[in-house]
Symmetry: C2
Subunit: 335 residues, 2 copies
């Protein structure tokens, strides 16, 4: 039975605005041997996600805040290297919420078995995991997507957005996406089959939407909030639906940012805005796994990963989410 050390990223102080290196600390801890019913897991990949910024505030939310002096949390996939739980034998692979660390001991109840023969290990943090299911339920449940509609997704090159666009294409929709660089825009159109994509940093949002969707939008999948939401409302067709999934433009604001000036347009147009997080629609999990694994296999869904190597670069990866540093899922490889 080995005694292992694990490096972990702890919250040192609460960020003001954009998270800085000094808000975090990389600490080495000893990992004790697993007790009865416990397993020792060595993480292979961890994820960084925009929602984690919210947990760095000390406030009531749908997930409790991270605590100063403790390791951060988040999705991870790893291999069981010692086991006292027959459900998770040595050599099996698991997903957990024990990211931001290289290894950990856990009871089996906190783990989910995953099958790397079905899809690559890392995809369980992306297209086959939480971001993938967010795209899926956001389109079909929150936005009630119908075949052949016109869909706009912001943050379209991100882990959620890139799947939103591809699923909508599978459903015969016209798909418009916004992203923050020319490279990403080219990628969306040339690799992922978007009908139109634009760089929101170049030119006026509403004008871009009019070019990409001259007849207006049926569905807007909002990952960004703020100006993107306002522009989309101006361009919605009657009875359009907006899935409110994220507001990354505002997560580092230190002052409240005013909302759309055109909310009252929703009245005459009969617009629906539906906020959601993935866990609201857990009853769609089976359909999600079946559909998305099928679409990956038949080539209609592709996925991208931006991978940083080593836990010492986890904070860089996290910061990169807010500066446009990723195409597709942002991950950290730990082994």
């Amino acid at each position: 039975m080995s005694t292992l050390t694990s490096r972990q990223v702890q919250l040192k102080s609460r960020p003001q605005g954009m998270p800085a290196e000094e808000n975090f600390e990389l600490v080495e801890v000893a990992v004790s041997a697993p007790g009865d019913g416990e397993v020792l897991v060595r993480n292979h990949y961890m994820t960084v996600d925009p929602y984690m910024r919210g947990r760095m505030y000390d406030r009531k939310s749908y997930v409790p805040p991270f605590q100063i002096g403790e390791a951060l949390q988040g999705g991870a996939v790893g291999e069981v290297i010692e086991s006292n739980d027959a459900n998770f034998p040595v050599g099996s692979f698991v997903q957990s919420n024990n990211g931001w660390r290289e290894a950990f001991v856990s009871s089996g109840e906190q783990l989910g078995a995953i099958d790397p023969s079905l899809a690559p290990l890392s995809t369980y943090l992306g297209v086959m995991g939480m971001p993938g299911m967010t795209a899926y339920v956001g389109l079909f449940r929150a936005a009630s997507l119908k075949d052949g509609e016109t869909v706009f997704v912001s943050g379209a090159a991100g882990a959620v957005g890139s799947l939103v666009g591809q699923i909508a294409k599978v459903k015969g929709c016209r798909v418009i996406g916004s992203a923050g660089s020319e490279d990403k825009v080219a990628h969306l159109v040339n690799e992922l089959g978007f009908d139109h994509a634009f760089n929101y940093k170049n030119g006026e949002l509403l004008q871009q939407l009019r070019e990409g969707a001259p007849d207006g939008l049926d569905v807007y999948f909002d990952n960004v909030g703020a100006e993107h939401l306002e522009a989309a409302i101006y361009h919605m067709r009657p009875f359009g639906r907006i899935a409110l999934c994220g507001a990354i433009a505002t997560y580092n604001d230190t002052e409240p940012r005013p909302g759309p000036v055109n909310m009252s347009m929703a009245i005459g147009l009969g617009l629906r805005m539906q906020g959601f997080i993935v866990s609201h629609y857990n009853d769609s999990r089976e359909a999600f796994v079946r559909d998305v694994s099928g679409w990956i296999k038949d080539g209609s869904v592709k996925y991208d990963e931006t991978i940083h190597e080593g836990i010492e670069h986890a904070v860089d990866a996290f910061q990169g989410l807010f500066t446009g540093g990723n195409t597709g899922k942002m991950l950290v490889k730990l082994i």
Copy 2:
């Protein structure tokens, strides 16, 4: 066959901000005899409604703008005094969109027969008419009201709001309302059976909501927009629904007003915001007439009217909508 004169209110210039007397003109016109298939109607009541302010702007909307130099339009009820349409004999009563005038000639297709023995004539402009159906479909369709929930309605003493609260009470809900004077607040609690009402001009909105609904809101019926909407979002319970019906606080704004700063709270809470106008749910008309006429008869729904006398006071009545001049439906009696 008579030749009749009719006074009518015309738009003289487009209001900037609050509509002023000088934006309107009272004009006397001759009404010719009805032709084939036409009838001559003398109006008994006309309605003034907040949505009419929107039609005074020269802009694209769900109803076309009023034209300068022409009579305004809006709901009216009247009596057929000459008829060349067997469906509408002399002495029958009709509703039309030909308000803001004392008499008019129309083809029968533009008219709806009404039965003043079922409910008083004036109620077809209020609780049995468009405002009543707005309350009904807003609660049951846009907000998916369930029995026993906690409901907040703004503009609660108005034509729509006062019915919203009473319908919710019929359904066993806890009902909180806001209004703009102490008299109205007393009326809501003492006459209409609201559980809690407050004067939004006295004290902080969110604090008032916390007092009236300590456990939060399941449904917010928004007639007001702006600060009311923001405060309600702060106080919504998970999976709450907001019916976006009106934004009277903003209708006279000359500059766009920022929206709620807390839109992103909708994500974690899974809130739904549904904009609507009454015509989106025309398929609920039968259920509305049946339910509301029944509730009036059994005394569970009461209604108020604020009645101005004479078309020369129609503009006063309209202005009064924006200064809190009405309890219940604001009407003008024309005969």
